[in-house]
């Protein structure tokens, strides 16, 4: 498989690159595009359709291409994979995210004996945990599933996914690969460390927490973060992205959950992923920019296990950008330098990826990397 990555500021540049590739004999069949919501992604879909290149894309809170981390542009990965080895499915969440995701998993299982999935989801209030639950529904078989929740330059208004023919601000799209032929390996890692004691979610429904330790959730949150100098109050995402909840799940996996919105009327907190009554959590904090070296080292282990790669996808949480600022470029470069192969990605509102134990979870504040290799 051949692959090319590129970063452009304008769609016209994207078309020029595409023409150059075609002129030089590289005929991509599949494209993955991550772009700023400021870009005309409708035009992008037309462009790919006009060249008969299959497409999976979404809007972002920042784009990654090789060692570049930028805002406002378009990052694109082009691959010339045989059309027999992948299939793109697009699902509008007409029956909710869980059923939408479940439908996609059923399609994946019916398409290939051994599928692997790249998933993008749109809809700022959608529950990432439900998406993963849907993608894993009805089977105990863990398959490689990686992806991210689309972004919108941190406006938290509207996020989009798109393919050659479809655009949606509330849906899920996936590329299902034949994992017997196209191998997907990856890892999601965060590096965040817990801080303070355990707290208990005493009232919650789906991804909305109403009370913590029997105290209204927003009051509890603001007691820690909204002391007047912080920007907490009704927009906790401004501050909580850097200090997410570290939740201990029933399977003992620890996942980070980022409060994204506060509601002053019922004093509730909305998270990107769901949480249950009785769940225990602690606040967490990034152990400064040093964690970047730790992340790079973790991916070095992945590199040693999977030295060969045709292309890479990186889903990194926008919260990491808030915490690491310009240092996040070092993380992107460090990861790229391990393989020095075409890599694209974006800053997400939530990440999907398999942990070191192979179990796929929904995450926040993590960096989820996928290595794509044709066997």
């Amino acid at each position: 498989m051949k692959a090319q990555s590129l970063f452009v500021k304008q769609i016209s540049s994207l078309e020029n690159h595409l023409l150059d590739f075609l002129k030089n004999g590289f005929k991509p069949t599949l494209g993955i595009v991550f772009c700023s919501p400021k870009q005309n992604f409708k035009e992008i879909t037309h462009l790919f359709d006009s060249y008969s290149i299959d497409l999976l894309g979404c809007t972002t809170a920042g784009e990654i291409a090789d060692e570049i981390l930028a805002e406002g542009g378009i990052s694109c990965l082009l691959m010339d994979i045989s059309k027999d080895l992948y299939k793109i499915y697009f699902e509008r969440n007409t029956e909710g995210v869980f059923l939408g995701a479940k439908k996609l998993r059923l399609l994946a299982d019916s398409t290939f004996d051994n599928p692997a999935m790249i998933v993008c989801s749109a809809g700022v209030l959608n529950d990432g945990e439900q998406i993963v639950a849907g993608l894993k529904y009805g089977t105990e078989k863990e398959i490689p599933i990686f992806g991210g929740l689309a972004g919108d330059d941190s406006m938290i208004l509207n996020t989009y996914i798109f393919s050659r023919k479809d655009i949606s601000n509330d849906g899920i799209a996936t590329i299902v690969f034949d994992n017997d032929k196209i191998e997907l390996k990856g890892l999601a890692t965060s590096g965040w460390e817990p801080l303070g004691g355990f707290n208990t979610v005493t009232k919650a429904k789906d991804n909305v927490i109403y009370s913590i330790n029997d105290e209204p959730a927003l009051d509890f949150f603001n007691r820690f973060f909204g002391d007047g100098e912080q920007e907490g109050a009704d927009n906790p995402s401004l501050i909580s992205a850097q200090y997410p909840f570290q939740v201990v799940k029933d399977n003992q996996n620890e996942v980070l959950r980022m409060p994204i919105k506060g509601d002053l009327t019922d004093k509730s907190l909305r998270l990107v992923g769901s949480i249950k009554e009785g769940d225990k959590f602690r606040f967490s904090i990034s152990p400064s920019v040093n964690v970047i070296n730790k992340t790079i080292k973790e991916f070095e282990v992945l590199k040693n296990l999977n030295p060969e790669a045709d292309a890479l996808l990186l889903f990194s949480c926008i919260g990491r950008y808030s915490a690491f600022g310009p240092f996040l470029e070092d993380e992107v470069k460090g990861i790229y330098d391990h393989w020095k192969k075409p890599m694209v990605g974006f800053l997400t509102y939530g990440e999907i990826g398999n942990l070191r134990n192979g179990i796929c979870e929904f995450h926040n504040e993590t960096c989820s990397l996928v290595v794509i290799k044709e066997r």
Partner: protein, 337 residues
């Protein structure tokens, strides 16, 4: 910093150095600028992290402090409750001691009264019988009848006192032993051989188990119930059927003693086991102590006793005792009833 960079660029243009040197200088300055931005971000981030960390830890400390205070308050309440419980427990112990003393005194009184009554009663009975023997048919007809009444009633009173004595001296020490109930039934048959033969009584039982019981107490109970069956016999020859079954659910042994006698109405269930309750209006023998003795023995065993009227006539008495095994056999305890 950006403004500084712009002004530097302008100044750089005015310098009379080569383009190559200008580019090198500009690159150096841009690198410095980038490092400045990064260090500035890092500094701000560190300050923010520090503030948040302090806030988080402060709140955690506050919560721990609040929890500590709550625990201290709870401790005070618990100490008070403990003191109250100790006081109540002390009072209860005192009441129990007083009750035990009263009970012992009552028991002693019953024993002394019964024992001391027996001797003068025996004398009254003896002299009444002597009178009857020497002066029968020599006094008036009424006098003979009066003497008969005296003899008969002294015998009855003697029987009452004997039972009262038995009731008050029921062994309260639960010394258990492993008893083969089949052999126990042979012993009971031997004890009651006279009235069994006299009344032509049939006692039936299948193979009975070996149980940990207080042998003398259970013997008394079964004997009393067989005697009752004979005493309150119907026109049929007395037939007593004994069964023992295991009640696994509540870990009990249940005994049943079924007779074909006159039958005892179930409405007297509460009264029947009280001392001196003669609930049948028919002129039947007995002082109303047998069932009271059975009740006391069974209660001392930690069991229960009751009866049911058989549909085909007669009564079935049931009693239960807790199941014991060798490991669980309790030390003898003083049981207060």
């Amino acid at each position: 910093m950006k403004e500084n960079l712009l002004s530097f660029k302008e100044k750089l243009e005015s310098l009379s150095i080569s383009e190559e040197e200008k580019a090198e200088l500009l690159e150096s300055i841009e690198s410095l600028n980038k490092d400045y931005v990064r260090m500035n971000f890092l500094h701000k981030q560190n300050v923010k992290d520090k503030a948040i960390t302090i806030n988080l830890l402060q709140n955690t400390v506050n919560e721990l402090q609040a929890q500590k205070e709550y625990i201290a308050q709870t401790n005070v309440q618990l100490t008070l409750q403990k003191k109250q419980l100790e006081e109540q427990s002390e009072k209860l112990a005192q009441s129990l001691q007083a009750l035990q003393m009263s009970y012992h005194e009552l028991e002693q009184f019953a024993f002394i009264a019964s024992h001391d009554l027996k001797s003068p009663l025996r004398n009254i009975g003896s002299y009444a019988q002597l009178l009857k023997k020497r002066y029968a048919n020599k006094l008036s007809e009424d006098a003979d009848t009066f003497l008969d009444f005296i003899v008969k009633n002294t015998q009855m009173m003697n029987s009452i006192i004997t039972h009262l004595l038995e009731y008050s001296t029921i062994d309260r020490k639960r010394e258990l032993s492993l008893v083969d109930l089949n052999r126990l039934m042979e012993l009971i048959r031997f004890n009651l051989r006279e009235i069994i033969e006299k009344n032509n009584v049939t006692i039936e039982f299948n193979q009975l188990p070996q149980l940990w019981i207080q042998k003398s107490g259970i013997t008394q109970v079964i004997q009393h119930l067989i005697e009752n069956a004979i005493k309150f016999r119907s026109t049929k020859l007395p037939l007593v059927r004994i069964e023992v079954k295991e009640r696994e659910k509540d870990k009990l042994w249940q005994f049943s003693i079924q007779d074909n006698g006159l039958g005892l109405n179930e409405k007297y269930q509460d009264k029947a086991f009280h001392p001196f309750q003669r609930i049948d209006s028919r002129n039947l023998p007995g002082e109303g102590m047998g069932l009271a003795i059975c009740w006391k023995i069974i209660k001392l065993h930690g069991g229960d006793i009751w009866y049911k009227e058989n549909t085909e006539g007669g009564t079935t008495f049931y009693f239960t005792i807790p199941q014991m095994n060798l490991e669980l056999v309790p030390q003898p305890v003083d049981v207060l009833i």
